[in-house]
């Protein structure tokens, strides 16, 4: 119980280290999700809204990549960015950028695969209706996005959830360096290992609050609260 009180004290006293970690985590997670969505949503819409040769195989590959273990993604990025790796000259290892790259590798297939599956439900009917009305190509694209708004927001949330809760990949390529690459999840693992539960609890509590706030904002955009009339 004391640990909870102390954790609450850290939160309300705006502990510099605690809030530094939160800021870094949000920056990393939002960047990862933004980049993953910029890649994954257009790709998912393109795959999900039409039938083409090889679609089945492509979806199988995507579904496999959706389950990519974070440590494997971290290892791939580590090998690419390590001094002797092909991208070693960029000197990105143990930086937030490296953490974002690892997360994009993890999250992009999730965003693409989920978008393709969800968009496939309504989009063929939307496109057939729009074609029958002779609507322009930009209008069709706008309709695909607006009519699939709720599932696409869920996709973004899933990506964000994955980004903010991820440990394996970012600890491998980020190194969990204090004030530089320490994120909320890696800090929780470290502080729990050290027996510093108050810091770990404070971080855990804030993680849950962030998830709740983001879900609440998303539900407004999703237009939840159905009109049954």
């Amino acid at each position: 119980m004391d640990a909870f009180k102390e954790a609450f004290g850290l939160i309300i006293s705006f502990d510099k280290e605690l809030y530094g970690i939160i800021a870094l985590t949000l920056k990393m997670s939002l960047s990862s999700v933004l980049i993953s969505c910029l890649i994954g949503i257009p790709a998912g819409v393109a795959i999900g809204s039409r039938n083409f040769k090889g679609k089945g195989l492509l979806m199988k590959i995507l579904h496999t990549l959706m389950g990519l273990p974070p440590v494997v993604a971290g290892l791939i990025v580590f090998l690419l960015l390590s001094r002797s790796g092909p991208l070693g000259s960029l000197k990105l290892l143990f930086t937030v950028r490296a953490m974002v790259i690892a997360q994009v590798l993890l999250i992009s297939p999730i965003v693409t695969g989920l978008t393709a599956s969800l968009v496939a439900v309504k989009t063929p009917t939307i496109l057939e209706t729009a074609a029958g009305l002779r609507l322009s190509r930009p209008t069709k694209l706008k309709l695909i996005l607006s009519e699939n708004k709720a599932p696409l927001i869920s996709v973004v949330l899933t990506g964000f959830g994955r980004a903010i809760s991820e440990v394996g990949a970012i600890s491998l390529v980020g190194g969990n360096i204090q004030h530089r690459t320490r994120a909320m999840t890696t800090a929780i693992v470290l502080e729990t290992g050290k027996g510093n539960f108050k810091f770990a609890i404070a971080l855990g509590f804030i993680l849950i609050i962030i998830a709740f706030v983001i879900n609440s904002i998303a539900s407004v955009f999703r237009g939840e609260g159905y009109d049954y009339a």
């Binding site: 074609a131 029958g132 009305l133 609507l135």
Partner: protein, 226 residues
């Protein structure tokens, strides 16, 4: 208006549309009849270019635009009125669009649903919305795929009258797939009966009902109630 030549469409190995030649004159109102899987919907999709033929050609006079209502129409999530405005596009002035949309709402009994989301309508309401969207402006060529399948008989009859009036007023060429010989008689001046992708009967409504020439024509008429 439309000429189909050596038209073939396959679904895997199965031939689902196989028409040697079919000519449709300007201003004709055609009912496509046939059992499920006879190729009616596929033929409409081919004419509207939603799908491409595997063989053959579809020639449309002066490449006039084809407006098409699929069997499963989608009501866009904006309001019913906005759905109609969207369909009218930018070809008309703002005030003109508003008047046309309001007239379409009235004609298809959608005034009370004006602000309701298009994706939260019942099946029959969605079909009325789809027709209102399509028929808010005059078109030369209209393809309708079972446009009243989810409607009650009262709404169905009102819609049938609206379709005939629209076609007469705008000299519209109409091709409509239907299961109902009664509806075909009500709307069409030419009946085409399809079986396994081919045209087995192409005649006037009265002739098909009174003396069907093909085996499938007899079977179809016998099994359908009027």
């Amino acid at each position: 208006m439309i000429t189909l030549e050596n038209l073939k469409k396959y679904a895997g190995q199965r031939l689902i549309v196989d028409i040697d030649r079919l000519h449709i004159k300007e201003g004709q109102r055609i009912a496509l009849l046939g059992a499920n899987g006879s190729g009616k919907s596929t033929l409409l999709k081919l004419i509207s270019s939603v799908i491409k033929p595997d063989e053959g050609q579809i020639n449309i006079k002066k490449e006039k635009p084809v407006y098409y209502m699929p069997q499963q129409s989608y009501g866009f999530s904006s309001g019913v009125y906005k759905n109609i405005l969207l369909a009218l596009g930018k070809d008309f002035k703002r005030e003109e669009r508003r008047q046309m949309a309001a007239a379409a709402l009235k004609q298809f009994g959608l005034e009370g649903l004006k602000d309701k989301r298009g994706d939260r309508l019942s099946g029959g309401e969605t079909q009325r919305l789809a027709l209102a969207r399509l028929m808010a402006a005059p078109h030369d060529l209209l393809l309708l795929d079972e446009p009243t399948g989810a409607m009650d008989i009262e709404a169905e009859k009102a819609v049938e009258k609206a379709i005939v009036d629209y076609c007469k007023k705008n000299s519209t060429t109409l091709i409509m797939a239907t299961h109902s010989p009664r509806q075909a008689l009500e709307i069409a001046d030419r009946l085409i009966l399809m079986h396994e992708g081919s045209v087995v009967e192409d005649t006037s409504p009265a002739k098909l009902i009174e003396s069907p020439q093909s085996q499938w024509g007899k079977v179809f008429i016998e099994h359908k109630k009027f």
